[in-house]
C-alpha cells in the first residue's frame, strides 16, 4: 500500500517537473475551434522572444464565462473568440482593457462593434442553411430563397436545426429568424414546426447524423451549419473533390453573421507583449492563415483569401444581424420562449 502511494507521488512529481520548465510566456485563451498553423506562431515567438501558451476553454460561451469567472485572478493575457452574440456580456463584465491597434485601419467599420476598442474584430463568418446538392438535383427540387420558403410544404421534414439553448449554431439561426420576424419569430417557428422541422441538440448530431450531405447519410438534406462548411467538405474530403457536395442558402436574412473578437484581458502583466500579439492577430500573416484553419473570413481587408473560399463558399449579401445589447438583454427570454414552443 505504501508503495502505491509512493508510486503515485512519484508519477505526480515527474509530471510536475515536466511542466515546470516553461519560461515566462504569453498566455492566450481561446475557444475550442481556434486553430492556427505552428509556423505562424513560431514566427511571432521568434520575433518577440516569447513562448505563447494557448488555453482552449470550450465553446465560445464557456470560454467567455471562464474568463468572467477568473476576472479577479486572470489565467491569460489575451482572450480570443468572443463573438457578437456574447460581446455585450464581455464588455459589461469589464474583462478587457482598451487597445487601439494601428491595424484597425485595415478592418471595415461594419465589423467594429466596440467604440472603446476593448474588443477588436478578428474574423467573421455566417451561420447558414447548408443543403445536399445531390438530393435537390435528384428530386428536382427548387432551392428555398428565404426563411419563409422553409415553411413551404415541399420542404416538409427536410430541415434539421440545432437547439439554441445548447448550440451556438442553433442560437445564431434563431437570431436570424428574430432579425427577420422580430416578435413574430415564435409564430414563424410554429410554422416551421408544422412543416416537420427536425430539432437536435448539437451541431455534431445535426451534421453527422441527420444531414444527408455528410458522411452520416442522414434523412434531412438541409442543415443549419456554417457558410463555409462546403469548402471544408472539399478540404477534408477523403478523395480529392472537384466540387463541393453541399452549398449554402444565402437569401436575405437567411444567414446570421458572427464576428469574433480579440481583447487584452484586464490585469495582464504583459501589456506590451499582449499588444504585439493582438497586432499580430490582426496582421496579414495570421489573417491569411485563418480561413483554412478555422473556416471563417479574415477581418483584415488586405488579407488574401484561399481559392477554396472563392470557389465553394456562398457569401450572403444581406446577412441578418441584431444589436448586441438587444441580444444580451433578451437572450434568456427568447430561448425560453423557443424551448416552450418547441417542447410541446
Amino acid at each position: 500500500m505504501k508503495k502505491t502511494i509512493y508510486l503515485v507521488l512519484l508519477v505526480l512529481a515527474l509530471a510536475l517537473s515536466a511542466c515546470q520548465k516553461e519560461p515566462a510566456a504569453l498566455t492566450v485563451m481561446a475557444h475550442d475551434s481556434f486553430k492556427v498553423s505552428d509556423d505562424v506562431i513560431a514566427q511571432f515567438e521568434q520575433e518577440n522572444n516569447v513562448k505563447v501558451n494557448f488555453l482552449l476553454s470550450g465553446d465560445a460561451g464557456s470560454t467567455l464565462n471562464r474568463a468572467v469567472l477568473s476576472k479577479d485572478a486572470p489565467v491569460a493575457d489575451v482572450l480570443y473568440g468572443v463573438d457578437n452574440t456574447f460581446l455585450s456580456r464581455a464588455l459589461s463584465e469589464g474583462i478587457f482593457e482598451s487597445y487601439a491597434s494601428p491595424l484597425l485601419d485595415q478592418i471595415p467599420d461594419a465589423l467594429k462593434l466596440d467604440d472603446q476598442n476593448r474588443a477588436l474584430p478578428v474574423d467573421y463568418g455566417d451561420v447558414c442553411v447548408n443543403y445536399d446538392k445531390a438530393y435537390f438535383a435528384e428530386h428536382n427540387l427548387a432551392l428555398p430563397t428565404s426563411l419563409e420558403d422553409l415553411t413551404k410544404p415541399e420542404y416538409d421534414g427536410l430541415l434539421v436545426v440545432e437547439n439554441p439553448a445548447v448550440s451556438s449554431t442553433g442560437l445564431a439561426f434563431m437570431f436570424a429568424t428574430i432579425a427577420q420576424y422580430g416578435d413574430g419569430y415564435m409564430d414563424y417557428w410554429l410554422r416551421l414546426k408544422d412543416n416537420g422541422v427536425v430539432v437536435v441538440n448539437d451541431w455534431e448530431t445535426a451534421y453527422y447524423t441527420n444531414f444527408s450531405g455528410s458522411s452520416g447519410k442522414g434523412g434531412q438534406p438541409m442543415v443549419v451549419s456554417y457558410g463555409t462548411s462546403p469548402a471544408v467538405e472539399v478540404v477534408y474530403a477523403e478523395e480529392p473533390l472537384t466540387d463541393a457536395p453541399t452549398a449554402s442558402l444565402v437569401g436575405d436574412n437567411m444567414c446570421f453573421r458572427q464576428i469574433e473578437f480579440v481583447g487584452i484581458l484586464q490585469g495582464t502583466q504583459q501589456r506590451a507583449l499582449a499588444e504585439k500579439f493582438v497586432d499580430f492577430m490582426l496582421g496579414t500573416t495570421l489573417q491569411e492563415d485563418i480561413p483554412l484553419n478555422m473556416f471563417v473570413f479574415p477581418a483584415n481587408q488586405n488579407a488574401q483569401l484561399p481559392e477554396e473560399f472563392a470557389l465553394y463558399n456562398q457569401v450572403p449579401e444581406h446577412p441578418a444581424s441584431l444589436p448586441m445589447d438587444e441580444i444580451e438583454v433578451n437572450r434568456e427570454t427568447w430561448i425560453a420562449g423557443w424551448r416552450e414552443l418547441m417542447a410541446q
Partner: protein, 565 residues
C-alpha cells in the same frame, strides 16, 4: 481487536482520504456556493420557473429509475452468466461488455447511428430483406434511445459489481437450499439474492447516480424535447451565466441524489454477510443441461447485440468508407491521424494523446485504489462510519459535472501560472470520480472476509499490516483488480471534468476524438472514429492484461501449486 487506540497509522487512514475529499471536492464546491450566493445578493434570482424545474426534476427521476431498472434486468442474468458458467469466448465477452463504459457520448451516438440510425446497417439490412420503403427502426430523439444508451453504458457496472460478489457466493449454500426443497426460483429469492444484496445495492446506486446526472446521452440521444436537471444546469451556467439559478438547480440535484442514496444505504447496506471465500474457479461450470446451454446462448447473443454490435459498427465506421457504389475498406483515417495536414499548432500525434491518457489513467486508478483501500480500512468495524463514508464518496457522482468542473477551475484553475497545474488536476478529478466505484467494490469484499481468518493470522504472528498484505489483500485481489480496471476505464473515458482542465498541448484520447468532430468533412469524421477505435483498443488491451493478472506469489511453495487453475 486491540486497535481502539488512535495511533499514527490509524489517523493516516483517515486523514489522507478525507483531506483529499476536502481539498478536491468540498473546497471547490465551497467556492461555487460562495460565488453563487454573492451573485444572488447582487442581482437576485432570475429565471426561476417552478413548473419547469418540477417537470425537469420529474423527468430526470423517471428516466433514471427506468434506465436503472432496465440495466438491472439485463445486468443480473449477465452477471449470473459470468459468475457461474465457463464457456468459449467468455474473456472476450467480459472485456467487450466493459468497453461501452469508456466511450465518449459523441462516439456512442455515432456507433448507434451507424447501427440503427435511419441509414444504419440494421435498417438498410431489414429494408433490403423485407423490401421496405422506410427504415423500420426509428428511435432517434426518443426516450427509447436514452434508455438504450443508458443500458449500453451501465450494464457493465452491474455485471462487474454483481458478478464479483456472485462468484464469492458458495454454490453449496444454494445446493443446500435445493435439498431443503426450495425451487430454483425460491433459492434465488431467499438465498442468493440476500447474499448478493450489498453488491446489488452498490450497483443500483452507481447506475442510478450515473443515469440521474446523465448529460451527454440526454443531449445526443434524446434531443431537445428531453431535459434533465444536469442539462438545465449546463444551460444556465454556460449559456446564461446565471450562477444563482445554476447553483440552486445543482443543489436540488444534489439533495435529490444524496437523499435517495442515503435512504438506500440506510435501509439496505447493513446486510454484509461474511462468507468463507471460495477458490476462484470453484463455482464455475460448463453449461451441461439443455436449459443451461440455451441460457448461455441467449445471454451471449443479447449481450453481443446490445453491447458489442454498436462497438462493431463504430469500428466499421473507422475502417470503411462509403460512396455511391457501396462500402470500401480503408486505412486512410488511421494514416491521417499521423499527419498534421494543416500544420496546426494544436495537432498532437495520436501516440502522444495515447501516452497522456495512459499516464492519467494509471495515476488516477492507482490513486483511487489506494484511497479506496484506506477508506475501506478506516470504515471497518463501524457500520455508521462505513455508511457515512459510502455516502460521502458518492457526493461527486451526484454532483453536477458542470458545477464540479467549474468549482475545480475556480479553486485551482485560475490565476497566473495556474495553467501548469492542470495536468495534475486531471488525474485527481478522475480519482475522485472513480473512488465510489473502488469503495463499492472493495468494501463488501473486505467485509465478507470472516474475522477468524484475520484472527488466525494474528495468532500466527502477523501484525495488522501483514494481515492486510498476506491475507486480506490476496483474498480481495479480484475485487481490487476489478476496481482498478474500473477506475482505469473511468479515467480513460472521462470527458466532462477533463474538458475543464485540459491543456491543448496535452489532450487525452476522448478530447482528441472530440476535436476531430467539431469540423465538417468526411475525413474529420473518419479520423474521429479511428481515434475512438484507438481508445477502444487500448482499453480492451489493458483490460485483457489486467484480467489475467495474478497476485505475485509469496514463498516458493505456491509456484507449483494449483495445477488445475
Amino acid at each position: 481487536m486491540p486497535s481502539k487506540r488512535w495511533n499514527a497509522g490509524k489517523l493516516a487512514l483517515w486523514l489522507l482520504p478525507l483531506g483529499f475529499l476536502l481539498a478536491f471536492y468540498f473546497f471547490p464546491m465551497g467556492k461555487i456556493v460562495v460565488l453563487a450566493l454573492s451573485k444572488w445578493r447582487q442581482n437576485g434570482l432570475t429565471g426561476w420557473d417552478w413548473g419547469l424545474v418540477g417537470r425537469t426534476a420529474g423527468f430526470t427521476f423517471y428516466q433514471a429509475a427506468l434506465s436503472t431498472l432496465l440495466t438491472l434486468v439485463l445486468g443480473m442474468p449477465a452477471a449470473f452468466l459470468f459468475s457461474r458458467f465457463q464457456f468459449r469466448g467468455k474473456g472476450f465477452l467480459r472485456v467487450a461488455s466493459t468497453l461501452p463504459f469508456i466511450l465518449p457520448t459523441v462516439v456512442v451516438a455515432a456507433g448507434f447511428n451507424a447501427l440503427i440510425g435511419p441509414h444504419g446497417w440494421l435498417n438498410l439490412g431489414l429494408m433490403a430483406l423485407f423490401h421496405l420503403e422506410q427504415a423500420p427502426i426509428s428511435i432517434q430523439n426518443s426516450l427509447t434511445a436514452i434508455l438504450l444508451a443508458h443500458v449500453f453504458y451501465n450494464t457493465s457496472i452491474v455485471i462487474r459489481v454483481v458478478s464479483t460478489a456472485w462468484e464469492g457466493v458458495d454454490l453449496r449454500l444454494e445446493n443446500a437450499a435445493r435439498t431443503l426443497g426450495a425451487s430454483p426460483a425460491r433459492v434465488f429469492r431467499s438465498v442468493t439474492l440476500p447474499l448478493l444484496r450489498p453488491a446489488l445495492i452498490s450497483a443500483f446506486l452507481l447506475v442510478f447516480l450515473f443515469d440521474f446526472t446523465s448529460f451527454g446521452v440526454i443531449l445526443m440521444m434524446g434531443g431537445p424535447q428531453f431535459s434533465t436537471l444536469e442539462v438545465e444546469i449546463y444551460i444556465q451556467t454556460m449559456q446564461f451565466l446565471n450562477l444563482p439559478l445554476a447553483g440552486l438547480l445543482s443543489l436540488i440535484q444534489l439533495v435529490f441524489c444524496m437523499g435517495i442514496t442515503a435512504l438506500i444505504i440506510a435501509t439496505g447496506r447493513s446486510l454484509s454477510v461474511p462468507v468463507m471465500p471460495r477458490g476462484n474457479q470453484e463455482n464455475l461450470r460448463k453449461p451441461k443441461k439443455a436449459v443451461e446451454k440455451l441460457f448461455v446462448l441467449i445471454m451471449a447473443f443479447v449481450l453481443i447485440f446490445l453491447l458489442v454490435l454498436p462497438l462493431v459498427a463504430l469500428v466499421g465506421q473507422a475502417f470503411f468508407t462509403s460512396n455511391d457504389s457501396g462500402w470500401h475498406p480503408t486505412l486512410q483515417y488511421f494514416r491521417q491521424l499521423f499527419v498534421n495536414s494543416r500544420r496546426s499548432i494544436f495537432y498532437v500525434p495520436p501516440i502522444i494523446a495515447l501516452r497522456n491518457s495512459l499516464l492519467y489513467a494509471l495515476t488516477a486508478s492507482a490513486l483511487a485504489l489506494g484511497l479506496g483501500m484506506l477508506l475501506a480500512n478506516a470504515a471497518r468495524g463501524s457500520r455508521t462510519l462505513s455508511r457515512l463514508l459510502n455516502w460521502l464518496v458518492l457526493l461527486p457522482l451526484g454532483t453536477s459535472a458542470v458545477t464540479f468542473g467549474l468549482g475545480l477551475y475556480l479553486a485551482y484553475g485560475t490565476g497566473y501560472g495556474a495553467l501548469r497545474w492542470y495536468p495534475l488536476l486531471i488525474p485527481l478529478a478522475h480519482a475522485l470520480i472513480a473512488l465510489p466505484f473502488v469503495l463499492n467494490l472493495i468494501e463488501p469484499a473486505l467485509n465478507a472476509i470472516p474475522a477468524n481468518l484475520k484472527w488466525a493470522a494474528r495468532t500466527l504472528g502477523a501484525s495488522q499490516r501483514v494481515v492486510w498484505r498476506r491475507v486480506e489483500l490476496p483474498i480481495i485481489w479480484r475485487s481490487a483488480l476489478t476496481a482498478f480496471v474500473y477506475a482505469y476505464a473511468i479515467s480513460l473515458g472521462e470527458f466532462g471534468a477533463t474538458s475543464f482542465l485540459t491543456r491543448p498541448d496535452i489532450p487525452t484520447l476522448p478530447i482528441a476524438v472530440y476535436r476531430y468532430l467539431t469540423l465538417p468533412g468526411a475525413l474529420n469524421y473518419g479520423q474521429a472514429m479511428a481515434m475512438s477505435v484507438v481508445l477502444l483498443a487500448v482499453c480492451a488491451l489493458s483490460m485483457f492484461v489486467v484480467d489475467r493478472l495474478q497476485l505475485p506469489v509469496w514463498g516458493d511453495n505456491q509456484r507449483k501449486a494449483q495445477p488445475d487453475a
